[in-house]
Amino acid sequence: MNWKEFPYSRSLDFKNGGYVYTPSLEIEIINGSRKFSTDAIIDSGSDCTMMSGEVAQVLGIDFSKCEKDPDIKGILGASSEGFIANIKIKVEKFEDEPLDVKVTFIPGLNTPVLLGQNDFFQHFQVLFNKKKNIFKLSSD
């Protein structure tokens, strides 16, 4: 199997000191002629791939033309409304395998992209190695 390795991204926690490590990678999001590159967190706990409402705005996605997903819940139970759109993403190191993704856009989501079970984990096998702060992806 052909695995590609990524480091966890490292950020500083200015309040508590030390570092926070997150399994994220760079993706290019494509909606027609509009493209946008950003970091995406690999989130095995998300049922689907989610993006923030701000990302939808820069991609020119009009929520009034999207199918609604009326009941998106986080782990604390709060419910949000989402808007579904089909877009393409290109994952870093897998640029020659553009992926069609059904995304739920959520206004107020505080992170740009969560890559969830649908459709990211359906396409990629993922191995997390927190001890070494690395993860690996394979599309075989």
Binding site: N16, E26, S52, E54, Q57, V58
Partner: protein, 62 residues
């Protein structure tokens, strides 16, 4: 292109909980803002990568 994978070298306190535009190799900050739409307008069509930095002292569970 080799990319800088350790953003702690270029991001500091003023960037926390902001949208930040980075050069494609992630070695330099091009701009930052509270609003992605405003930042994108400022940056225009320049080739950059946008990242949203974490607020300090917050634990996320998605």
């Amino acid at each position: 292109m080799k990319k800088n994978t350790d953003l702690t070298k270029i991001l500091n306190k003023i960037h926390q909980d902001k949208w930040v535009a980075l050069t494609p190799n992630r070695e330099k900050v091009v701009g930052y803002s509270d609003s992605l739409v405003d930042l994108k307008e400022k940056i225009g069509d320049k080739e950059v990568t946008y990242v949203k930095t974490r607020p300090s002292g917050v634990k996320f569970a998605f």
